[in-house]
Symmetry: C2
Subunit: 251 residues, 2 copies
């Protein structure tokens, strides 16, 4: 049987998993997908993901690709997968793509958003789904600071310390903060992200929002390339991988 290259859009609640990437001694999204979909397709699968989301990070539109000789029709995959996957991982779309298409390598840009719950008291329904910030955030000031991260920049100041020595230049296409009642969502659309970059940007945004820093601090911190000047790494459970874009747009 001829081999097909399959591309899936995957949503998950990251609470129960040790991130996307397969690990030796902890359950990952990748392992569950490879094991469960492997049983569906009838052979061992090697699945590539567009983004390596961390433990506790959620996804609406993670994208994965894999090659298969299995015969299941592509339109049937989302429903068939519901029968083998746990309820916190859902295949939202499936498509056959050209053999050279790769979820990570072919990706042109990604959108993440980060959710903050801003009230002096917690919301028990958002414990696993938003960062609880008690002090009132100045969303105007936070929004103003975002102009300093738009464009192509060295984002070393927002990279995890001890991260791999990859090129720290990334291009941010769009960034904004939206407020709906006590919920603030900060959205980041970039061509690529360094390890912990969104969470470190959000930690810095919160320092700006509580008036510990002014809006232009975002510029000076970025320019300094010094991780120690940026804010704390915001917790993983407020982060969502929203969408991954390819040459043809959204899949």
């Amino acid at each position: 049987m001829c081999e097909r290259n399959i591309c899936l859009t995957v949503a998950y609640d990251g609470t129960a998993y040790h991130g996307f990437q397969r690990q030796a001694n902890a359950l990952s999204i990748q392992q569950v997908l490879e094991d469960r979909l492997g049983s569906l397709f009838g052979h061992t699968l090697k699945i590539a993901g567009a983004a390596r989301t961390d433990t506790g990070v959620h996804a609406h539109g993670q994208v994965v690709t894999f090659k298969t000789t299995g015969s299941i029709p592509v339109s049937r995959i989302p429903f068939a997968a519901q029968g083998v996957l746990p309820t916190d991982i859902v295949i939202r779309k499936a498509a056959v793509v050209p053999a050279e298409f790769h979820a990570r390598i072919s990706a042109k840009s990604k959108i993440y958003y980060y959710r903050i719950y801003n009230n002096h008291l917690a919301d028990p329904l958002l414990i696993r789904y938003a960062w609880h910030i008690r002090r009132k955030l100045d969303i105007e000031r936070m929004s103003q600071s975002l102009k300093h991260i738009i464009g192509k920049h060295d984002f070393s100041a927002f990279r995890a310390t001890g991260g791999a020595t990859v090129n720290p230049v990334r291009e941010m296409l769009h960034a904004e903060c939206r407020q709906d009642g006590d919920v603030i969502e900060c959205l980041f659309h970039g061509t690529g992200f360094l390890y912990h970059m969104v969470r470190n940007l959000v930690g810095t945004l919160v320092n700006i929002g509580i008036h510990k820093l002014d809006a232009d601090a975002m510029f000076h911190i970025r320019e300094s390339r010094d991780r120690h000047r940026a804010g704390v790494t915001a917790p993983a459970h407020g982060l969502y991988l929203k969408e991954v874009y390819y040459e043809s747009g959204l899949l």
Copy 2:
């Protein structure tokens, strides 16, 4: 020390609890509140709740009252309670109320809403927070049907079979369905609710939404007083107790 009557507004994620009301062999919200707040106030507490939410039902604004001789200032209670309560139960407000005030008996009306996720595929982030309905719901038709439940009526058709033989007449002040993308929320404001009444109304609404019934079926089912003509009992995890109103309004 003089005895105070304390009124709390409580939010909780009902996922981990066997409902509000204390039970012999299962953990309830009431038990956790009585045990944990009892340790805070330094004596055994007997807590009354405005509504007996079922296993898995959530609350933004459950109201409870209890008498205490403890000396903790009322303004300190929400913060102090965070130190003793699990993260899925949060005291949002606290007030001293007149001695005769009782969370359930003094309540004038309550608002519940029910959340439906309407898409042919599940959303893993709403598994515990919305009822997943795959078939496309006709929200116009659902909304039209709601006029038949507004006002004072015998709601026997929507009462749990085998429920207590209380007077089945209740007054619905307002009801509406709102849509935001794939999420539909049906809101019910009534002076009182029979056991499973909201969930049985929602089961019937869904039958109307999928065109199994027409909008006027809500009238005929209500008039029949026959539980077997109404829809299934919608699952508990889509139901939220939003607010409880008293003579003075919201607390």
